[in-house]
Symmetry: C2
Subunit: 292 residues, 2 copies
């Protein structure tokens, strides 16, 4: 068979015995290369087809994260719907009928689109980026930084979750959320609040039927996907939680992973790229290992 | 409602009266800004949910295109299946059971991964690219170029179609094809033959259920999507053809479209990106206008 691109299968190990592929690096990693999800900053969105797990990014959007958790804890999203699926762009969910009260949540939030670069860790990627002076990783999220103005921000890679807003930059409040399902729409960076990323169940969003209305909104109510519930993981009994851990992005292991993405070592590849886009370095997630 | 990112809706027109958004530019374009699909280099893949239209790129992969057309004209793909859907990567189709004869088609083809830069048109994009010395557009396809060695190649943007191969670079023959459904896997550039791109029906591929086997292959036969037929458009009666035209990429109009993607003019955007990735500038396709 003409197979295609064994992205995650080990092929020939180079003579140096150093981990070669992403799979090798993950296999050789130590427990300290991983961090468990923080239940207080993890959301579960239950769809009919399964659970979507979202890791929140409070360091980048603290007020948004707090407001979203307020909404979730009020049951705001329960019974609402995925209302928009625009191919090569975003899946969006919220209240398509504009009926539900925000309850105790704020109606308006500050524009948490960038933060002070001093306030967040940053592991730079050495490769040039089309959009930002510098890109890299911050606390397990893809990020960018502008040293000239001392600002950092999360970037719109596949699977990143943001909060919709109207034209007013303070009009967002987290009651309409979206996830990126296509080529990174980096033009959104610094224009809207990114609040986290999908770490499990992305395929439940990306495979939804595309909407045929303007901007990919569904035109019929029955096309929508119902959100059975959204929960903060901390509010779910421990035994029902998704026990996941995310690879740390500030380690030597992650640096090796970046290098494995920049120059693939699989036998299939003949011309190593020599570079990698920040959005072409997915941050590994795996079931959390049991304590020994 | 908290709408999100009116990507293709016109908002505020700048004072200069110059087309501002992609929608404005398309609306103001002239017939000469478009080229109809060449029926001899267009494929229709009929799935149960509808027709996928693929524009072939014979200037970049002439032997692959010829071999694929031979396979299609022999009915090679009819009744075969989409066998692999790997999230954020590719959809792949071909003969999962390895039973079908290639007939008159060649078993092996030269590695048509790059061409001489002199042999193809090229409209450069001024923005820096992570992977290539220069990126831009060639005959309606996203492309890259290395002036130092005089080579050009198509790049793996969303919707691009390529031909799988085994480890041997001449092992491909077009009987296994794939389309990109996620972040541009640019590491594949120059490693495999890109043969065209999906110009209609991409959502029929991108929304397929993801495979749960290694590399996203389906584990059960019934998960596959059947290919009812593949046809060269020229072999289909004229009245049954998809009458589409693609925006030319070597025009002043397309240069305006690039600028509209680099710096969005919608009222929603507060910080223009100032740049655009070659894979974030989709080339417009529309129903062909009737002759007057």
């Amino acid at each position: 068979m003409l197979s295609l691109v064994p992205l995650l299968t080990a092929a020939e190990l180079p003579a140096a015995h150093k981990p070669a592929t992403v799979a090798d690096i993950v296999a050789a990693s130590r427990p300290s290369d991983w961090k468990p999800l923080d239940p207080e900053n993890t959301l579960y969105m239950q769809l009919p087809a399964g659970r979507v797990v979202i890791e929140l990014a409070p360091k980048f959007a603290p007020e948004y994260v707090a407001n979203i958790k307020t909404l979730v804890r009020e049951g705001y999203f329960d019974g609402l719907a995925i209302e928009r699926v625009q191919d090569d762009f975003v899946v969006q969910w919220g209240d398509p009928d504009h009926r539900r009260s925000l309850g105790a949540a704020k109606r308006s939030l500050p524009a948490e689109f960038v933060v002070s670069a001093r306030d967040v860790p940053f592991t730079p990627l050495e490769d040039p980026d089309t959009y930002a002076p510098e890109v890299g990783f911050s606390g397990g999220f893809p990020a960018a930084r502008d040293p000239a103005v001392g600002r950092a921000w999360l970037v719109h890679c596949y699977g990143m979750v943001g909060a919709g807003r109207n034209d007013d930059v303070e009009s967002g409040n987290g009651s309409e959320l979206y996830a990126v399902i296509g080529q990174a729409p980096r033009q959104l960076d610094r224009n809207v609040a990114l609040v986290g990323r999908v770490v499990r169940g992305m395929e439940l969003l990306s495979s939804l039927p595309r909407g045929t209305g303007p901007l990919g909104f569904y035109t019929k109510r029955e096309q929508r996907t119902r959100i059975e519930s959204m929960r903060v993981a901390a509010d779910v009994p421990a035994r029902e939680r998704s026990r996941l851990e995310v690879m740390r992005t500030d380690t030597r292991t992650f640096a090796e992973l970046i290098e494995a993405r920049r120059n693939r070592r699989d036998a299939w590849y003949k011309v190593p790229a020599g570079h990698a886009d920040v959005c072409n370095i997915p941050i590994p997630v795996r079931p959390r290992l049991r304590q020994r």
